[in-house]
């Protein structure tokens, strides 16, 4: 395999969010940069979704393991806030996978968070917007909990941030 940024990103498609196994880190938007030096040293820059997310350390190790599995031993993986994550960085493919997984994807928004954008989230099961926010905190830091008044089910949303 030729060492190119594109090829590395393709490899990293294999690394999934351990709490949402349908979502790759690339689609999640936490891989903020891949650099390959003239000496073929690969640097992968990452950033956390939520600063307190306990899965981030695991994801960083998983990136290292995946690079090594493909014979790339000359590497550095850096986790930093240089390019902070926000939920608009989730790819379209990632959003589709979230919905199929039963998690409402976060709306694309202008990064000004208010209650309005949390209140009537589209239900991932029946697409109704007749829903209510139950609590902005869910089973993991990145999820909020909602109730659909039409299909009468609780559902979770990957929170806008």
């Amino acid at each position: 395999m030729e060492l190119t940024k594109e090829n590395i990103l393709t490899l990293l498609e294999e690394v999934k969010d351990p709490e949402i196994p349908v979502l790759s880190l690339v689609d999640l938007g936490v891989i903020t940069g891949v650099d390959i030096s003239d000496e073929d040293h690969v640097t992968v820059n990452m950033t956390p979704t939520f600063a307190g997310c306990p899965a981030m350390d695991y994801m960083k190790k998983d990136v290292e393991r995946t690079l090594e599995k493909h014979g790339i031993t000359n590497h550095t993986v850096i986790m930093s806030f240089d390019k902070p994550w926000d939920s608009n960085k989730l790819s379209e493919k990632g959003r589709r996978h979230l919905k199929e997984f039963g998690l409402a994807p976060p709306p694309k928004y202008d990064l000004i968070l208010d209650l309005d954008i949390l209140e009537h989230v589209k239900c991932p099961y029946c697409d109704s917007e007749n829903t209510d926010l139950r609590t902005p905190f869910g089973p993991t830091l990145c999820r909020s909990m909602h109730y659909c008044n039409d299909c009468r089910q609780m559902f979770e949303q990957f929170k806008p941030l």
Binding site: T47, F50, L111, F137, G138, L161
Partner: protein, 251 residues
């Protein structure tokens, strides 16, 4: 920029969040309803993550690693405001403290996201989005419960009266206050307090609660420079219990 001034600022930011994070975690398993149990537990996790981000900046400036800094200092070496170390009390007190604290915290982060000191600006830019959820949570419950039953209003009012002198202590000026302002690190504690007051008043106005007359209240200062209530040391002892038995333990 004077590194001591930056460290002073970072320590108060980090310690506030570590200590309140720990207090929030004490609600795990004890919340009055499941959603609140999860909310306080989630905020605990967020706040401890936020403290880690600031302790990491301190480490980059030559301080010890985050675990050592968090687990090996005594109460008189902590820079948190006394507000965050007070015991949880009943849910009404925890909710009022959460409301008073997070409305100030988000203003700090908003200001610091514009900071001339770039490492803090980057972290603050990230964290302000997360704290927004804490503020939404606090404001929603204060509005709901603050205009509900007589008991809820009485309890919240009494907790508000109790917490306010400690809340004002959050704005204890730094030894380097003017230096931080002049260097454009942030606008300083007086500016944070003025904006905080506007925001909490806007919420309280929508309830049957009354903000006490702040002019008559003596703020509980001293926390920023190691003066703490009797409640901090037992919290630290509990928090560091495993670390003190085995610093290499992973759990």
């Amino acid at each position: 920029m004077n590194e001591l001034a930056i460290k002073d600022l970072l320590y108060k930011l980090a310690d506030d969040q570590l200590i309140l994070g720990h207090r929030n975690s004490e609600w795990t398993g004890f919340g009055p309803i499941l959603e609140e149990d999860i909310a306080f537990s989630s905020m605990a996790q967020d706040k401890i993550g936020h403290s880690l981000a600031f302790y990491t900046l301190l480490q980059e400036l030559g301080e010890a690693d985050p675990d050592t800094v968090a687990f090996t200092r005594n109460a008189n070496q902590f820079h948190n405001s006394q507000l965050v170390e007070l015991p949880n009390g009943e849910y009404d007190f925890s909710l009022i403290r959460h409301f008073l604290y997070d409305n100030a915290e988000i203003i700090r982060f908003e200001m610091l996201s514009q900071s001339s000191y770039e490492p803090i600006a980057k972290v603050a830019t990230k964290l302000k989005g997360e704290v927004k959820y804490h503020v939404l949570h606090a404001n929603t419950w204060i509005k709901n419960l603050g205009s509900s039953t007589e008991e809820a209003i009485l309890r919240l009012q009494s907790s508000l009266n109790e917490a306010i002198p400690y809340a004002l202590g959050m704005f204890e000026p730094s030894k380097y206050e003017q230096e931080l302002i002049d260097a454009g690190v942030y606008a300083g504690e007086e500016a944070v307090k003025a904006e905080w007051l506007k925001r909490i008043e806007a919420v309280i106005e929508k309830t049957d609660l009354k903000l006490p007359d702040l002019a008559t209240i003596e703020p509980k200062m001293g926390g920023r420079y190691g003066e703490h209530t009797e409640h901090l040391q037992p919290l630290l002892d509990e928090m560091a219990e495993v670390f003190k038995i085995d610093p290499t333990a992973e759990w």
